[in-house]
């Protein structure tokens, strides 16, 4: 269980600045909106009520953690101070909280909805909101709005509405998406151009927002597992691993060593699968169609292994609370052992056909540079962060499963450009193979499933656990009030920070570079929108 310190909204900014400057907490891991309901008779004095936010911070120097929460009782116009000037990622996180809970952040430059339509009524994540009743399916095309509002705090304490312009009338704005082959899903960008040069990017999200977090609040714990695979389907194993780990930690369930081995191997296979798909998609975006076939050819071999043991190719549903769904297939070890030399023997083909290509090099080297400071401030974890010199691998930072017992290298590069992001992934395939090689011969005997009760009730409190998913840190924040349903289940999206960096990274680049950068940072849209 995690202790979260309560701070009054009036002191929030001072405390946050102190944590940032004195404690060097430069990585805002999560910013989670909460609805703790209205005060009732018989509340314990330390109980938090109202609409609020939980902040989870980490220092990249000392690796210290801090968790802070704040709340306001006003449900008509809930207002909290912004932290978007302290951490850049807070900008997009606070918009998310505004969208779901209606909490307005004072001095936030851009208080627009992010996932839902501009004309949406109500705030769906509030416990007393009925989103479906007030929002029937609207087939009218959505108006695009070029202005946004900011709540400015006057020196005398009153609040003034200021209108900020996103794109003015003289700017040349083009629309990319939501139906565009190289946005990797249904992401929409509005891009302001000066000739061919990008001046500003405004991402518009929510075209695949399914409200998974809200749905979780009315599902039992084993049922919530089913939806994690559908967040980032290329990190299906890792996502589910994170949620299972979180619930197991909360319940105090010990999983057997065999399960830990199986989970680690599966996670790494999934990572290779994801990186191969990354290679295939990136090369296709850049016009190398043959390379696309290479990636998919070898990816099918991993899917075969998955299918034999788990029964699914993409949505795998393998991890369960306390173990895995079924024991590994008798062929599993043999198949994996065949795959390792095959993959390490064939990877040179990938480099021959694409990495060394002069067009690929020209399009990737020096394009879309993300500095280390920005990577941390935006919380861009995973391969994109490591390419900028930030050693952010959860497997090394907070080892879980078998990762502290195996020997592997964390791939870190310092260039921060598209080519570095690409090479990090290619090198990680080799590291993942190395991890699997160390584990595959030593899978110990033991049960594949610890016995759990049919109805799981997680003890009261809040819990957090994180794994290194294929494209960054995937975290699960669980707040339980002792029921069989979670009170709040929040997933730290791996892709949302990667979309947030697009504006910073692409400014000054050419419009064609937007496709390169989007391909190399590697986001999956259903994971961003959740």
């Amino acid at each position: 269980m995690e202790e979260i310190k309560y701070i009054e909204p009036s002191q929030l900014r001072d405390e946050m600045l102190r944590l940032r400057n004195e404690k060097k907490m430069d990585f805002l891991e999560n910013l989670i909106g909460m609805d703790w309901g209205t005060p009732a008779e018989g509340d314990a004095p330390e109980m938090t009520r109202g609409l609020g936010v939980v902040y989870r911070l980490e220092s990249t120097e000392t690796h210290e953690h801090a968790a802070v929460k704040t709340s306001t009782l006003d449900r008509e116009h809930p207002q909290l101070p912004t932290v978007s000037d302290i951490w850049k990622i807070a900008n997009i996180y606070e918009r998310e909280v505004y969208d779901f809970y209606g909490i307005e952040f004072i001095n936030h430059p851009d208080m627009r909805r992010i996932y839902l339509r501009n004309d949406w009524v109500g705030f769906p994540f509030r416990k007393d909101d009925e989103p479906e009743k007030e929002n029937p399916l609207n087939m009218e095309n959505e108006e695009t709005i070029d202005t946004t509002t900011e709540l400015e705090l006057n020196p005398d304490g009153t609040i003034k509405n200021v209108e900020n312009v996103i794109f003015d009338d003289r700017e040349y704005v083009i629309n990319i998406g939501p139906q565009h082959p190289s946005t990797h899903g249904v992401l929409r960008y509005r891009v302001s151009l000066e000739g061919e040069t990008i001046k500003k990017i405004d991402p518009i999200l929510g075209y695949i927002h399914r409200g998974i977090e809200k749905m979780n609040e009315s599902l039992t714990y084993p049922q919530t597992l089913a939806l994690t695979d559908r967040l980032d389907y290329l990190s299906a194993q890792q996502n589910r691993h994170a949620l299972c780990m979180c619930i197991e930690k909360a319940m105090g369930i010990e999983v057997s060593e065999r399960v830990q081995y199986i989970r680690t191997i599966m996670d790494e296979l999934q990572r290779i699968d994801s990186h191969l798909l990354y290679y295939a998609c990136l090369t296709m975006d850049l016009g190398a169609l043959t390379a696309f076939f290479y990636g998919f050819r070898d990816r099918e071999k991993i899917l075969d292994i998955f299918e034999e043991t788990c029964g699914g190719r993409l949505i795998i549903n393998y991890n369960t609370i306390g173990g895995v769904q079924a024991d590994i297939h008798p062929n599993f070890v043999k198949r994996v052992k065949e795959f390792i030399p095959y993959m390490s023997g064939i990877i040179h083909e990938y480099h021959d056909i694409f990495t060394g290509n002069i067009i690929a090099q020209n399009r990737m080297k020096g394009v879309g540079i993300l500095s280390r400071e920005d990577a941390i401030s935006f919380g861009a974890t995973g391969g994109s962060g490591r390419a900028s010199g930030w050693a952010c691998d959860v497997r090394k930072r907070i080892p879980y499963a078998m990762y502290d017992k195996v020997d592997f290298k964390e791939i870190v590069r310092t260039e921060g450009d598209s080519f570095a992001r690409y090479m990090v992934r290619m090198d990680e395939i080799m590291e993942s193979l190395k991890i699997i090689e160390q584990l595959i011969d030593n899978i110990p005997e033991g049960p594949y499933q610890t016995k759990t009760k049919p109805i799981i009730k997680v003890p009261e409190g809040s819990y957090y656990s994180a794994v290194e998913a294929s494209r960054g840190e995937f975290g699960v924040f669980l707040e339980s009030h002792g029921d069989k349903y979670p009170y709040r289940l929040h997933y730290r999206s791996t892709g949302l920070p990667l979309v947030a960096i697009m504006d910073t990274v692409c400014r000054g680049a050419k419009i064609a570079d937007l496709i390169t950068v989007g391909g190399t940072v590697d986001y999956v849209v259903p994971d961003i929108d959740r």
């Binding site: 399916l137 609207n138 249904v186 695949i208 927002h209 399914r210 009315s218 050819r297 259903p526």
Partner: protein, 195 residues
Amino acid sequence: MEVKKKPKIKDIPYDEFIDNDSLEKLVKELNTGGANVAIGVLDDVINWGRSNSLWPLTFGTSCCAIEFMALGAARYDMARFGFEVARSSPRQADMIMVCGTITNRMAPVLKRLYDQMADPKYVIAVGGCTISGGPFVNSYHVVKGVDKILPVDVYIPGCPPRPEAFYYGMMQLQRKVKIENFFGTVNKKEKKPEE
């Protein structure tokens, strides 16, 4: 009247397809007025060509889109059946495979894409989410079945469907195309919307 048209798919016998009843019902409906012999033969020729070069729109919102990509790659290779020319513009596509969940925000966009496609056009609903809402049926932001906004020709269940299931669904669409009266019904100009 006896059903004359029996759409043929190479190497798969007619009786191995399930759901032949609805196809025969459709044939009966189309033939109620009777058809000119010359036009009937022309229909067959044109439908043979049309059914073997159905160009899909590259449209995918989530998981099913990855399986759609796997279809295009080497192992499953949809080029064998004439589906390989995936177009990124709706104006060049014959059919739209709705791969993945359709949310309330996406619904008007999807409708617009469908409207932009040229007639004759077909819709395949792929996966549980597009058929009924699937695992997200209780969500506040998911369209419970894409047939609420588009006329669907073929449903392919699964989460996501296996590539083989994609083929089965695509062949069912080919059969449907083969029995149509191109000159009589399908090729009719769309009526102008009433003012």
